[in-house]
């Protein structure tokens, strides 16, 4: 590193104050310590953006590592003279370990690598879930990749029209409610579909996210083309003793989540029974006993959330498989739609994979450029998607409510006599 050029960044510097961790302070501290020109330049360019109120990054730029179609986002400054150290500033998406546990030995080593080969800046993590290495030049891409694979046993994540890095909630590792081995599923899918993850062959991106229960702590239903969410098909487990402890005020409702405000003493009727969306609970004040009509329960988690010591999901667990979530571009945002209400999830997850294969086969053959699975579902119709493409039985769980318009597409084979009719015969019955 030769002469370091620092830029005046009075506007950006205003972000040093205030209690929330300042990325500006962090970056400047780091830049000073390591005398990183790219960091100074980045802050300089940010200052310019704060002045111009416009980004100073050029459009795209396809770069990558040999044999992979994704994992790297190319990025170039449009202020190459002013900020030469970030003239190229690509990001590398590194596939995170499922649910993002790390050991410091990995992290420290990664820091060293990135100090050496990149900006020293990270996004921990990207919105999809990757550990994102933020900013390096084209020449460093292969070396980073070699480092990752040889010295870290790590690999790149997804980008472009391919499978994106799957991600999951913390699940059974630390959550008592998980109905799924979220990490195992996440890991298995990631490993099974390495080719799809690294070599774009899809019409557009495809995302898996796995949450252990309907609280959906990885936001799968909003962000994953295939959302795998844990649930149970038997009865909520009740510890009546603990219920009484909540009612008696010995246990804190919702595990103490409301501790800084006086909401009054816990009222099981008001706070649980009355809020149950299916009204399937009953608190017998005399008996001091809680009843749940599990057949009517829709497993919303509310009662369990409020009384974690007393209630737990059932024992016969599995996943609801939903499909089609995406952000608004182009047709508007979608949440995922129920495809399989209950699927048992045991390795090697063949039932799931067969389903996925059907979706991908159809989508790859029929999807338009940049058409998400959710959009093709709408284009072909959920009914045909379920029956013709997935070969599943249509059931009311697929819809919130039946259609209200009467515009049914009957198929010829469903109608006695078919569609070919004899005009002459008709006119014999009905002279014009």
């Amino acid at each position: 590193m030769a002469d370091i050029k620092k830029h005046d960044t009075p506007t950006v510097d205003e972000l040093k104050s205030g209690p929330w961790p300042s990325f500006v302070d962090d970056i400047y501290s780091y830049a000073e310590k390591h005398q990183k020109q790219s960091c100074f330049d980045l802050m300089g360019q940010l200052e310019l953006s704060y002045k111009h109120k416009e980004t100073h990054w050029k459009h795209g730029g396809i770069v990558g590592v040999f044999g992979y179609g994704g994992g790297v986002i190319g990025r170039y400054s449009d202020q190459q003279e002013k900020f030469p150290a970030i003239w190229a500033f690509h990001t590398i998406r590194v596939n995170q370990p499922a649910s993002k546990w790390y050991h410091t030995s990995l992290l420290r080593k990664l820091c060293e690598m990135w100090d050496h080969r990149g900006s020293g800046l990270f996004n921990f993590h990207g919105s999809t879930g990757d550990a994102v290495l933020l900013g390096t030049v084209t020449e460093q891409l292969e070396p980073v990749f070699f480092d990752l694979t040889h010295q870290f046993n790590m690999d790149l994540g997804g980008s472009g029209s391919n499978l994106r890095t799957p991600s999951c909630c913390v699940g059974k590792a630390r959550c008592e409610w998980s109905c799924l081995d979220t990490q195992a599923i996440c890991y298995d899918l990631t490993m099974t579909y390495q080719d799809e993850l690294h070599r774009p062959a899809f019409p557009y991106k495809f995302k898996f996210k796995i949450s252990g229960c309907p609280n959906d702590c990885v936001a799968a239903i909003a962000r994953a083309d295939c959302s795998i969410i844990g649930t149970w098909i038997d009865d909520i487990q009740i510890d009546q003793e603990a219920v009484r402890a909540y009612v008696g005020g010995e246990l804190k409702p919702n595990a103490g989540a409301h501790s800084d405000r006086d909401w009054g003493p816990f009222d099981i009727q008001k706070e649980v029974i009355d809020l149950c969306p299916t009204q399937c609970m009953y608190w017998d004040e005399k008996e001091k006993k809680l009843y749940i009509n599990n057949k009517e329960c829709n497993r919303c988690m509310h009662c369990i959330n409020v009384m974690p010591e007393a209630l737990r999901p059932g024992k016969e667990t599995g996943a609801t498989i939903l499909m089609g979530a995406k952000a608004p571009i182009l047709e508007g945002a979608q949440l995922s739609t129920v495809i399989v209400p209950f699927m048992r999830m045991e390795p090697p997850y063949d039932t799931l994979k067969e389903l996925i294969d059907k979706v991908w086969d159809f989508w790859m053959e029929n999807g338009k450029n940049r058409e998400r699975v959710g959009e093709i579902m709408q284009r072909v119709g959920l009914n045909r998607f379920i029956t013709d493409i997935l070969g599943l039985k249509p059931i009311p769980q697929h819809v919130r409510e039946p259609r209200s318009n009467p515009y049914v597409f009957w198929k010829e084979e469903e109608v006695p006599g078919g569609w070919e009719r004899d005009l002459a015969e008709f006119r014999k019955r009905h002279p014009a």
Partner: protein
């Protein structure tokens, strides 16, 4: 079967590779640009997760019984085995340096046996098994500050709080943003800081930010969403377009069919390009994604829309989309005062009026959106009335409304 997974987890050991020092020269030795396949390892995927589980997490995998948030940011987990683990959650700006991570490692090494995790919302979680360590850890975290005075590791984000803002790249790295990301987040979190470290709200409040309509994140389903928007149709670089863009793809990219192919003459030379029917443009930016010669960004046009009332969890009510309640707020670096004020006003109005357990969107639906606008003192504009594909379903087709101040009897 589940047992098999449990077993596998127990048997997974931390990869020895991480204890080997980093060799900065290895890659250059192995990589031969002439023979790129030489020494290349591919498709190995991520490291196995279980090796990073701390021992107490490994052992109690699938055996957790319950949890209790002992104070904001500190969750105590109890296992069927009797084991106890405290998870301490700290906020981060997500955009962090290797030195920051090293500091995280220092802490994790000191208190947590070297293990640490990140949450789905970019917070860090430290795990300790006894209360003494917990106290020491909390004190330590509190003491660490950046030179400007900000906390490096504020504790909080649990329960009925505002946890970390899920956000995106902004001016730090993206080519399509209308606004910055990290700067806005810092400004907003500074103002909402007390709500990060406390449990004062009626329910959790998820704030998210995306710097353009691509909405990298879950802005479309957040309690409060801050969204960068463009308001000027794309510029069209006629002289360059045909060289850098595939015109049919650009035309197809526009959801409203506002783009048509065109030919222009520049200095006597015919150039293939496109024309945009500006009246039909809704500034989605999809054309720019496909074509560098059609930039939308503009300092006067760009700004921030506020959407509220979305949620993800199935708790009580089903997941919902966020609704656009403010179509435009000015883009005001470095501190975005108008956005900050507005977000806080919404948050505190909600906190004041909602019932326990009631998410922001549930509250707005219960009282009616007309009341929401009134209570939050947000001027209602025609921009909040949907005119996209499913618009009809948002029309008020009943007499179920309240007479708020908006109604001027005719």
């Amino acid at each position: 079967m589940a047992d098999k997974i449990y077993e596998e987890i127990q048997n997974t050991q931390l990869d020895e590779i991480y204890s080997k020092p980093y060799d900065p020269e290895l890659a250059e030795k192995l990589f031969n640009p002439q023979k790129p396949m030489e020494n290349r390892i591919t498709d190995i995927g991520p490291p196995h997760y279980a090796q990073f589980f701390p021992p107490e997490i490994k052992k109690n995998y699938g055996k957790w019984k319950s949890h209790e948030i002992v104070q904001p940011g500190v969750i105590k987990y109890t296992s069927e085995t009797g084991d106890v683990v405290y998870a301490v959650r700290v906020g981060t700006p997500r955009l962090i340096t290797s030195d920051y991570i090293r500091e995280v490692c220092d802490i994790a090494d000191k208190y947590c046996g070297g293990y640490v995790r990140w949450t789905t919302r970019n917070n860090i979680e430290f795990h300790v098994t006894d209360e003494e360590k917990l106290r020491a850890l909390l004190d330590d975290l509190k003491s660490r500050k950046h030179p400007g005075g900000s906390y490096k590791f504020p504790v909080g984000g649990t329960g009925a709080s505002v946890t970390n803002i899920v956000h995106t790249q902004g001016w730090i790295h993206c080519h399509t943003p209308a606004i910055d990301a990290s700067g806005v987040v810092k400004s907003v979190m500074d103002e909402l800081f007390e709500y990060f470290g406390s449990h004062k709200l009626p329910a959790q409040v998820r704030v998210a930010l995306a710097c353009c309509l691509n909405m990298c994140g879950a802005v479309h389903c957040s309690d409060i969403a801050i969204l960068g928007i463009h308001r000027k149709p794309p510029l069209i670089e006629d002289d360059r377009l045909q060289y850098v863009c595939e015109i049919p793809l650009v035309v197809a990219a526009c959801p409203l069919g506002a783009i048509k192919p065109a030919t222009v003459e520049i200095n006597g030379e015919k150039k293939k390009t496109v024309r945009v029917n500006k009246e039909r443009c809704m500034f989605c930016g999809n054309c720019y994604t496909m074509c560098p010669a059609m930039p939308l960004a503009d300092h006067e046009g760009d700004g921030i829309a506020i959407l509220v009332g979305g949620k993800i969890s199935n708790r009580i009510s089903p997941p919902k989309f966020s609704k656009l309640v403010i179509p435009y707020l000015p883009n005001e670096p470095p501190r975005w005062p108008t956005v900050v004020k507005t977000v806080k006003k919404i948050l505190e109005t909600y906190a004041q009026h909602a019932r326990k357990y009631e998410r922001l969107g549930e509250w707005a639906e219960r009282i009616g959106w007309e009341k929401f606008f009134e209570l939050c003192e947000i001027p209602f504009t025609d921009k909040s009335i949907d005119d996209y594909r499913l618009a009809y379903d948002t029309y008020r087709t009943s007499l179920h409304f309240k007479f708020t101040s908006h109604v001027e009897p005719m």
